[in-house]
Symmetry: D2
Subunit: 275 residues, 4 copies
């Protein structure tokens, strides 16, 4: 089980969410040390935007908790929109090209979950990827194939529809091979302006996904927290697991829904695979 985090809002240092907090993402990768259930030691990645530029990506096969370069970069880089992902491999090789976030042009993509029995459907799924995109595939994960399928199905023009078609295609392909529950996912994707965060699984019991509470509400709840005053009203964090224990700070994304963080009012909509 991987973990991920998406941030959108006032520019902050990456280390604020990746390193510093009591329950930062790196802390979660280490979690096991303090008695919890999962080790995410199979590499990690960070993708971030700066004004007007394509996203940059830093990916490593080391455990996030012992990578010194990550701490340096997280202390040096500020960004208004970034993704971070820590990996627990479900079997595919530990290599940079298999670490999230994946990038295509201005788009980033990261995933927690799996395509079940991926080795049985991999070829058929790969064949459905648009020929012009095929040469860009660099790794061997189910997550990257999901990304290129979504791109094939129109991610750049209709993100929600494209992901609905991608999931429908994976469901259909898996079932045609006798795989009962083909997909389990929380996925985040972004074009550098908006963030789409999906929670879905064939079985209807998807991995957890949380949105941070609206900043103005949070400030009213916790006037004592000074740092909240420095962040814009539109600041949002989406995470596979809450960071920290602030009461009222986190709201679970419902089963089979997609949350959209964007300029103006954010949105939460039902998500239905197109079979």
């Amino acid at each position: 089980m991987c973990r991920w985090l998406a941030y959108s809002g006032s520019p902050i240092k990456l280390e604020e969410l990746l390193v510093k907090r009591d329950r930062s993402l790196i802390d979660q990768s280490l979690h096991a040390r303090q008695g919890a259930t999962t080790t995410n030691g199979d590499g990690f990645g960070v993708g971030w935007y700066e004004e007007g530029e394509e996203p940059r990506v830093y990916r490593s096969t080391h455990p996030a908790w012992n990578d010194r370069n990550l701490r340096e970069l997280a202390a040096g880089i500020s960004s208004p929109l970034f993704f971070a992902h820590i990996r627990a491999s479900t079997g595919t090789a530990i290599q940079e090209t298999n670490t999230h976030p994946f990038r295509h042009g201005r788009w980033l993509w990261m995933h927690n979950g799996l395509v079940r029995d991926f080795h049985r459907v991999r070829r058929e799924l790969v064949l459905a990827i648009d020929e012009s995109l095929f040469a860009s595939i660099e790794g061997t994960t189910d997550s990257e194939v999901m990304f290129y399928l979504a791109l094939t199905f129109g991610l750049e023009s209709d993100p929600v529809g494209a992901v609905e078609r991608m999931v429908g295609h994976v469901e259909r392909t898996g079932r045609s091979r006798g795989i009962e529950l083909p997909i389990q996912m929380t996925v985040a994707t972004t074009d550098g302006r908006s963030v789409w965060a999906f929670r879905y699984s064939s079985e209807g019991t998807s991995r957890s996904l949380y949105f941070s509470t609206k900043l103005e509400t949070l400030r009213a709840l916790h006037p004592e927290i000074e740092e909240l005053s420095g962040l814009s009203d539109e600041t949002r964090i989406v995470v596979s697991e809450p960071l920290g224990d602030l009461p009222g700070a986190w709201n679970e994304v419902p089963e089979s829904h997609v949350g959209i963080v964007k300029p103006g009012e954010d949105e939460l909509r039902p998500f239905t695979p197109r079979l």
Copy 2:
């Protein structure tokens, strides 16, 4: 907290103890995944002997559980005497020169524990290392300094005495700087013929250490286990944690003792630092 294993006896494939078993060493490094308390993901090392040769060492900074080369080598290499170590760094850099076992000539050394407040005593300890050995120091761990101090104090001619002097020196140096409990250790060292396994700590509550039961006793207890019949009577395993749950298979080394696995009868003796 690191973990380690020392094997001496009939030549076996390394994978028998590192990879295959239910609770192999790699399994223990992953342990956290199944709900236990520790992740040993900060590198690992294996050292092994073949007839008449200096030991070979394979060390890596990757977590043992996701290093494919380790699985290849463990499947390919047979040895009558080998050490394996999985590391959880207590702060020093994750690099091959900081992974155990350390080697000097025919000797290997590995350690679980720490010299407390090592940064405060490092210089003084390093200065006590024999000048001719100094140039061989390659890393920055307390464990390697303990090894070179033991070599300085005569490890090659009087292993128990040398380790007693090394520990005494560390105790004295630490206390002179106001460090109350300067050392915590289980240590294994070998010249390729015998294995010395030490359990000691300033506070008298040392990390765990186990010897496997004598093979003939084990065979009498478990006539149903066929593979035991293929191993020589002198086969022994020393480990920081038992592998598997075989009743009667493991005996704890008492506090402040050293066990010696050697041709002929093995030995268990009290261990007293020479202050």
Copy 3:
């Protein structure tokens, strides 16, 4: 341009050919340091057989010249048949799954050269790979795709015919896309008993390939070299570049030929792609 070496004969330590010689393979990877034209610093791999077992593979993304584990293993492992390869990437990612030799069951495969404009033909070539083999593809190189195509075309039962069909398929696919000279290769493959070494390119000016002279001839030429007397008559080395300067020791494989090192008399045959 990569370099590779295949050894078959009396068991020797890997280091004899990889490390020790004046112009060992590691030396060749460093060559550039002494004024030559190529740096092979993009990873390396070694594959070796021991009696009755599947081959083992050690692969790393470090330059061969500075990988300590390689020196350790090469000093520790003896084998009657091994492959070694040093890589200079032609663009694909530097990761273990892209380093040679590639393995499938008992077979090893390594390649020096390229499929030209690989990104334009990759999808079509990948689609021709047998569905049952598809899930085993782990990397993104042209070389690995060539291997799985050869397996698809019957490598295990008719090695020369399968490689002729594979090359024919690559030629045909490339030309259909307007690529004039689709392939350039020296390839070695083995099942652990025989070694097949191919030299071919669309343009008819293939990269170099050498066979060592028959041992009995070499002993007659150089009675002064004692170590030759310790090797069996059937010992052969195939290399992309000669090791050392021994007069009479190396014979170039002619353009568009395949050499077969096998029990009994070795063979040299014309190689013709099956279009």
Copy 4:
């Protein structure tokens, strides 16, 4: 032989000097591929400043030419003052803690050259390092020991004097052990405001070192180069080898001199070890 580059002036993207140019630093690390004499494939490092902060450091053991993260960071990070170094090991281990630039507080340090017979003087040199600095030593290179000796001798308050004392100490220590020519170096160090670049060797034939010509002079010489107009008058580059072939762009630092790039007029002074 390593290579390095120091930049001070108008903020630019790191990639401008590390990646993009015809003869960028990465290009120089690859140089060997185009027929030159040296491969610098044993790791690299970059250190950079942003306003008012301590320097950040990114260091890797991969060859600079195949490290994707380096390209990402060099494209993402702008800085008014940065150091870059590509390493060819003279024997010490390939690990991040042995790659330059080294950092202490606000200071960076990088070195091309060597302390001759370092293993014979290492202990004595290390003992001369101030006790409070000792615990910060992380690697095993001569270059890092030179840095900590310079810090011991007052680098932070009197940089030129401290390096003169450091070199004098190395000369004296080496000679007392019968080493005729103890040191060979070009060194750059900075506190984030000024850059000091030293060229010195015991034998008086030091490795090359170049300063870029003053920007106003360069603009007069080459009015056709538009990008020069975007850089401030105080912009300077110091390099072990010229980047590119622009006539008049580079001036060799004379033997036994130190160049100082600083706010106001830059300086060039004789450098004399204090014996």
